[in-house]
Assembly symmetry: C2
Homo-oligomer: 214 residues x 2
């Protein structure tokens, strides 16, 4: 297991930076086009990754062939940390993306706080459970847009990059329902959609979006 091949030390110092020390590891960052596979279910899990730019989708396939997207990872987020030695899910790029691998070779030290990564991903997964179960389709989509907007705190216009089908498989809805919800958000004057694929969001009423997403 990954965590048994590493030595992790946590001191009483609060805060923890992954600064230049971590970045000078011999593993170089990797640039990928859209929809490229990073790893697949069943593969041996020896590497974790940090997203430097772009976005990655982590998903599973059910017995019936349905795709379910567990999470999207944006800039700065980590993925690929597994409970066992084998991948239980798939990782693919959503768009052109740079990722930085951290390999766990024998006796190698990963200069990274694995526990912090695991707990952050756990918190994300728990929050997603709340979004999915408690809320209507419209609220789920609003929560998704808000999650994306949170990655661009400065801008009121940004590119989601995910297709409607990605969003549907992430929120447990159908493509049609997602499209209808975006239409409702437009009609409520909460956002505008631009770009040929309607994936560029311009936030008109951020407060209303937040009120709806909670």
């Amino acid at each position: 297991m990954l965590q048994n091949q590493t030595i992790v030390k946590h001191t009483t110092v609060t805060g923890h930076r992954y600064g230049s020390a971590a970045r000078t590891a011999k593993d170089q960052s990797i640039r990928l086009k859209a929809d490229e596979t990073i790893y697949s279910e069943g593969e041996h899990a020896l590497t974790i990754y940090q997203v430097e730019s772009g976005a990655v989708r982590i998903y599973r396939l059910t017995a019936s062939g349905q795709r379910y997207i567990l999470s999207f990872c944006g800039k700065g987020e980590w993925f690929g940390l597994e409970t066992g030695t084998v991948r239980t899910d798939f990782a693919e790029t959503v768009c052109e993306t740079c990722i930085k691998p951290f390999r766990a070779n024998q006796n190698a030290v990963i200069p990274v706080d694995l526990l912090h990564i695991a707990l952050t991903n756990l918190a994300k997964a728990q929050h997603k459970q709340l979004v999915i179960t408690e809320q209507s389709a419209l609220k789920r989509v609003a929560a998704f847009v808000y999650e994306m907007a949170d990655r661009h705190p400065a801008d009121c216009e940004f590119d989601m990059m995910m297709s409607r089908s990605d969003i549907a498989d992430y929120l447990g809805l159908t493509v049609e329902t997602v499209a209808r919800c975006f239409t409702k958000l437009r009609k409520k004057r909460i956002l505008c959609l631009n770009g040929k694929l309607q994936r560029i969001v311009r936030l008109v009423d951020r407060d209303a979006l937040i009120a709806m997403a909670i």
Copy 2:
């Protein structure tokens, strides 16, 4: 943060036991009645717990006052490990329960693999996402019964202990829908329900249950 107040060391030795060494810590196990609070949202998070017997529910309250149960913890399972210094959820006993606390005082070493606990809880949360989003109400209830049955691998009869309302808040359904699903499972001759509160499950067709839960 918990993980910053502890020193955790993982060697290359595979496997990791929480044997007598951990159990001789000065923290004694605690016996609680049903529906007692272990901790609440907003409290300072300094302790993690292992369930010795019984069951614990971990839940959150939404802005609208709805309860959502993130997980049930049974014998051997750990809870209370938080991302920050403050509790984000509530922990209560479902029934008469024994728990063992592990406090993270300054300079104290927790003789426990926190990363392993975090990753196990992450895997549980991810699996629950799949159950909740992909499946019909009947399949969700079947998956819940299967999860409970997995905690009693030897017995074909066991006490779930959770109320219908607990199960509903866990699966994102209503009490009525849960009751209707149990009725369907009975009519399909997959299980029988006994006890005055109908919480004792007798598995009649385990294979059919598994087939339904996946």
